[in-house]
Amino acid sequence: MTAQSILSVQGVSRSFRGLKAVNEVSFEVPRGSICSLIGPNGAGKSTFFNLVTGYFAPDTGTITFEGRDITGFSPVQVAHLGVARAFQIAKPFPGMSVTENVRIGALFGRTGPRDVAAVTAQAMELAGLAELHDREARELTVGQLRRLEVARALAARPSLLLADEPCAGLNPTETAEMVTILRRIRDAGATIVLVEHDMPAVMEVSDTVLVLEAGCLIAQGKPEEIARDPRVIAAYLGTDE
């Protein structure tokens, strides 16, 4: 593990009933970057998130976060170390207001008890939710819910944010807003690992791109390199063979 990387994954595999969802994957995520994980459906992206957040333990391999081996840690332990996750299907607490949702992120994250109010306000501002603070989550649109999901994750003051398809189902305006928000989060000092299908958004926002196919890492590099990589094109479009 190099000094600049915040997350290091070494030889991680996980099978479900004999099917290798993630197979011998190794990579490093540089601190302060936006790193996108792309690949066709079923490539193992969500399983990978579940492994890092402690929902599943890997069968083999090690996961190192900020120099500490977190393999086999529980979700609560991982969250307390500073890893937050924004779900693809936004899971805000529907009966609570926007402020209350974000406040829970702050209360149980790494914020001191005195700073909860300030951190909550800051996260809502960053995600463009300040005007909606007293709305109940069940009143929000899909795009607003997605931003709420990100704001709540952010209020925990994570050093690593795992964002699961934050742009899925958003219209172009909302997608552009989300890209801006992700950039702001990185500029505020966090590292982001992004799973995303919206390729223009991935190409625009990523510092590095990792490509998974059938559980294996088939390519990694800068966005423009990935776009030209024949293996990636084959994985996405198929080959003539």
């Binding site: 996750r85 829970i104 994250g109 008890p113 005195r114 909860v116 709540r152």
Partner: protein, 329 residues
């Protein structure tokens, strides 16, 4: 360390509670002895229902067996007083009260480990089982005297009418319960419990220590319920297992929240008020049909207002605000 997360709301609630309690404390001076007895039933119901809400309303873990703590609290106090003959009534009462609360806290802690792993309806059923087991144990073990019954010490001071004294004692206990519930609701613990109710897996992922929080809420709820049980037992004067492990306690505390507003603190109080008024005053003379009418009323209210009366008010508030926002645009 700040006491409350949402401090302003907490202090407003505390203010309203204190003012409301003061009003209710003056009522016995105006009411007939019969009216005061109805008041006792209301205050008892409200206290038990708010104690239930600390776990059931906030975290969504509905206990169908809170009578276990009413009964076990009552019998702990009664049996302990038998063991302390010759003590002055006041100090025997206090010792018994503290002991009953501690014992029920420990009981909750012991059953929390296996039972609070069960989610939703399974937890509810398991608690129903717990209350039945407690009832059977106290009924069938001779030394616990559940079948024979136990007398409790007379703790009413000289010169105070017993019905007034117990009204005030129950009111004081309910005040304590409501204040504890407000403190829980607006603390970090309360927000964690609400997150568990909304989505336990997401709460866990956000770092809420779900198991520990559920246990703490369960223990608090059990101790507060036991406190009510001890005072209720003294009010009865003589208790058997049947008179304190009452199945209707199990159910009523939930009905009050359903009527008034699940998950709120004011909801169960409103619900307890309505149900006590309807069953004791409005339908008090219709002995043959009042249970039928009560059941019908509950069914209609739950169908018409699934979030309780507070839910109706809340929806109205949301609609008004939306209309205001639209006119501003």
């Amino acid at each position: 360390m700040k006491l409350f997360v949402s401090g302003r709301q907490a202090w407003v609630s505390i203010g309203v509670t204190l003012a409301g309690t003061l009003l209710f404390a003056l009522l016995p001076l105006l009411l007939s002895p019969y009216g005061v007895r109805v008041g006792q039933l209301f205050v008892l119901a409200a206290g038990l229902a708010v104690a239930w809400t600390v776990l059931g309303g906030f975290s969504g873990y509905w206990s169908f067996g809170n009578a276990a703590f009413v009964g076990t609290g009552a019998f702990t106090a009664a049996l302990l007083q038998l063991a302390l003959p010759g003590w002055p009534a006041g100090s025997a009462f206090m010792v018994a009260l503290v002991a009953a609360m501690l014992l029920n806290g420990l009981l909750a802690l012991a059953i929390a480990w296996p039972i609070l792993r069960l989610r939703g309806i399974y937890f509810a059923i398991a608690m129903l089982g717990v209350s039945q087991v407690c009832f059977e144990l106290v009924s069938n073990i001779d030394s616990l005297r559940g079948a024979l019954g136990v007398n409790l010490m007379d703790i009413v001071p000289r010169g105070v009418r017993p019905e007034r004294f117990y009204y005030w004692a129950l009111l004081l206990a309910t005040l304590v319960i409501v204040l504890v519930a407000i403190a829980v609701r607006h603390s970090k613990l309360g927000y964690g419990l609400l997150a568990i109710r909304e989505d336990e897996d997401t709460a866990r992922m956000l770092g809420v220590p779900t198991t520990r929080y559920k246990m703490i809420a369960f223990v608090i709820s059990a101790m507060l319920t036991a406190m009510m049980g001890v005072i209720y037992a003294h009010n009865l004067g003589y208790i058997t297992a049947n008179s304190v492990y009452r199945g209707d306690f199990n159910l009523n505390v939930i009905v009050y929240s359903l009527l008034g507003g699940m998950g709120t603190i004011i909801g169960p109080i409103i619900g307890a008020g309505i149900m006590t008024y309807v069953t004791q005053v409005l339908l008090g003379d219709l002995l043959d049909t009042h249970m039928f009418i009560t059941g019908l009323l509950i069914a209609v209210l739950v169908l018409a207002a699934p979030n309780g009366l507070y839910g109706i008010y809340d929806n109205y508030r949301l609609r008004m605000r939306r209309r205001k926002q639209e006119t501003q645009r």
